[in-house]
């Protein structure tokens, strides 16, 4: 019982994602012009991006908590969240590129939304480089935490604000958040899209927890060795 209480969100994530795969790929979907059946990729591509934004937001919150009390645990939590966010970001980019190839004929094009997403990812890769370039642990944690807050704001500007300043984009979402506006999605797609977003977020949170625990073990082992 204790195990179920502790792991409920992991089971839920798996059930939701299994439902998304089965019903999302085999269930009914409206046939839109140009994109046709590839609209089903929405459950994967957008879901992965939502989970990435959620986990990167968590990283920013952990960084703020670190800066409030300088407890290194929060910095390590922030690092684990960024690592997880990057994985989901890369998966989001890959599913987006596959979708672009099917609908626009190319994997990548000079589009403000696409370039903004790539720049946002680069901002977080710079976070990893920053951590690797500073030796002293306390200084590294302080610098990384400040940068993590800055990186999230930068990421938000790159994917939400700058693309909307552009006059035109192939990618939907210049006027508002795609798939979230009334009328953007057919009702039968909403029945899969919302569980998909929840499922991907729960999976990201699960993976984040594992990454953090692996990092904690490494940290404690290193600490033990240094104390010997």
């Amino acid at each position: 019982m204790e195990r179920i209480r502790r792991n409920w969100f992991k089971y839920l994530a798996m059930v939701l994602l299994a439902y998304v795969i089965v019903w999302g790929l085999l269930g009914p979907a409206p046939s839109y012009p140009v994109i046709h059946e590839t609209i089903r990729n929405l459950y994967f591509h957008v879901g992965m991006w939502f989970s990435m934004i959620f986990i990167l937001f968590a990283s920013m919150v952990f960084s703020i908590r670190y800066l409030r009390g300088f407890d290194p645990v929060w910095d390590r939590k922030s690092l684990a969240a960024v690592k997880t966010g990057l994985v989901f970001g890369v998966l989001g980019l890959l599913t987006g590129m596959i979708w672009a190839r099917a609908t626009w004929g190319v994997f990548w094009t000079n589009d403000p939304k696409l370039n903004g997403a790539a720049l946002g990812m680069l901002a977080y890769m710079a976070y990893m480089l920053l951590r690797a370039s500073v030796g002293e642990e306390g200084r590294k944690a302080r610098l990384a935490s400040v940068y993590s807050i800055f990186a999230f704001v930068l990421f938000f500007i790159f994917i939400m604000i700058i693309p909307r300043m552009a006059t035109d984009s192939l990618h939907p979402g210049i006027e508002a958040n795609p798939a979230l506006m009334p009328g953007d999605l057919a009702p039968q797609m909403r029945m899969v899209f919302y569980p998909a977003v929840l499922g991907w977020i729960l999976l990201a949170w699960w993976i984040y927890g594992l990454v953090y625990r692996i990092d904690e073990i490494r940290f404690k082992v290193r600490e033990q060795i240094e104390n010997q």
């Binding site: 795969i21 790929l25 009914p28 594992l210 082992v221």
Partner: protein, 55 residues
């Protein structure tokens, strides 16, 4: 209600197998981590040496 051809069915089955594999691997990793955390805590309590190879 169900609208699919043979190809998409293969894709769905392949994705399901991948996700089932991922779920099994994540739960397995979780169990391994719990064991390692327990061992590490015992090591720390005893004040003994623990090395990455032991974990």
């Amino acid at each position: 209600m169900w609208e699919f051809s043979g190809k998409i069915l293969v894709v769905a089955i392949a994705l399901l197998v991948i996700f089932a594999g991922l779920a099994v691997w994540l739960f397995y990793l979780e169990r391994r981590l719990s064991g390692t955390e327990k061992k590490l805590e015992e090591c720390i309590k005893k004040g003994g040496r623990s090395s990455p190879s032991q974990t």
